[in-house]
Symmetry: C2
Subunit: 201 residues, 2 copies
């Protein structure tokens, strides 16, 4: 093999690796979404992706780590957005955050993985740990960092509690009239509460 | 058989029936708590109670109806209390309701069945329907009935959303610092929000 051919081959292998990794990740996201954390296995993911289980472990590690990677990809748009949400004038942060969260839940494409992670987190301690790390460190702490308060994290979590509870009753358990209420009407009521938690007395 | 003996025997049969029904109900509550709705079967409940599946169906009907009966028993104290909670001056209802809900969650005996119903409701549509019927009609509507507002039910549900979200983040997913925060500190922050939803402008 010439030097150039070896280099070309090396490049192709790297590209193929990235493709395989992405394929595994996509399959993992689908499996976790459809079956939940408990019923999904590394073996099942490997089989659906057409690779060996060892390769899944090689790329991601344990089942918990595969789950974390899959969620991180699914939530990239959601977890990256808060920069724009938390930025800007502090007195509008409640409405921006509320609008952002309802936006994710109102959109069926982003609602499905969110439902899956919520279901998994409620049912399984390992999945709950992933939820804690991702949501707490990536979303809540970034919101809290904008607040100039000694209890900023607790404030951010109580604001999140209002939003998580709304999502539970409106989208998961579907309690009426909340489930069918106009989303703008709900945002108008919830945003000031979120604002109050974050910046109130 | 004399008339008196027959009557005595009839009484004993009724007592035995009530005992069997209670035994089935207790077993059902345990099975649903431990395994969740999906993994619990009428057959498994019957086996654990030492009776035939047909008897479980005879007393309660479908699996969904067994679940509803089991939850109703587990929640009798919780579902009966709101009368005291919703009564009294309206300007203290936020604190009474908040204190009541945190009281249930802080007590391990009442927390376990609550966790089970929440897990089941998140995972299963039939269990969610039971949750809706019980919580919405028995708890929320009774709170809403005390409010003299056209949108009383939506208000009660948004208040409940704050409480459900707090329970999710504090007791189920255990996000810090909320999970370890002093319960009185949390109540002090949440009660005014619940009050605001119920009676605010």
């Amino acid at each position: 093999m010439t030097d150039t051919a070896a280099r070309r081959r090396g490049r192709r292998t790297r590209v193929e690796s990235a493709d395989t990794r992405d394929r595994i990740l996509n399959v993992a996201r689908e499996e976790f979404s459809e079956r939940g954390y408990d019923k999904t296995s590394v073996r099942g993911i490997a089989k659906a992706a057409g690779v060996d289980s060892a390769l899944v472990h090689h790329y991601f590690g344990t089942k918990e780590q595969v789950f974390e990677a899959a969620i991180e990809v699914a939530f990239a748009p959601a977890l990256n957005a808060p920069e724009a949400v938390a930025e800007g004038p502090l007195d509008g942060v409640g409405e921006r955050l509320t609008r952002f969260i309802f936006g994710i839940w109102e959109n069926p494409t982003t609602r499905t993985p969110l439902l899956a992670i919520l279901r998994s987190a409620v049912n399984n301690e390992a999945a709950a740990a992933v939820f804690r790390r991702l949501v707490a460190s990536q979303l809540l702490r970034r919101v809290a960092a904008q607040l100039d308060q000694p209890d900023a994290e607790l404030r951010a979590e109580l604001a999140a509690a209002q939003l998580v509870g709304c999502a539970m009753l409106r989208y998961v358990i579907k309690v009426e009239p909340l489930a069918s209420a106009d989303v703008e009407q709900v945002i108008a009521r919830v945003a000031p509460v979120v604002q109050g938690h974050l910046t109130g007395p």
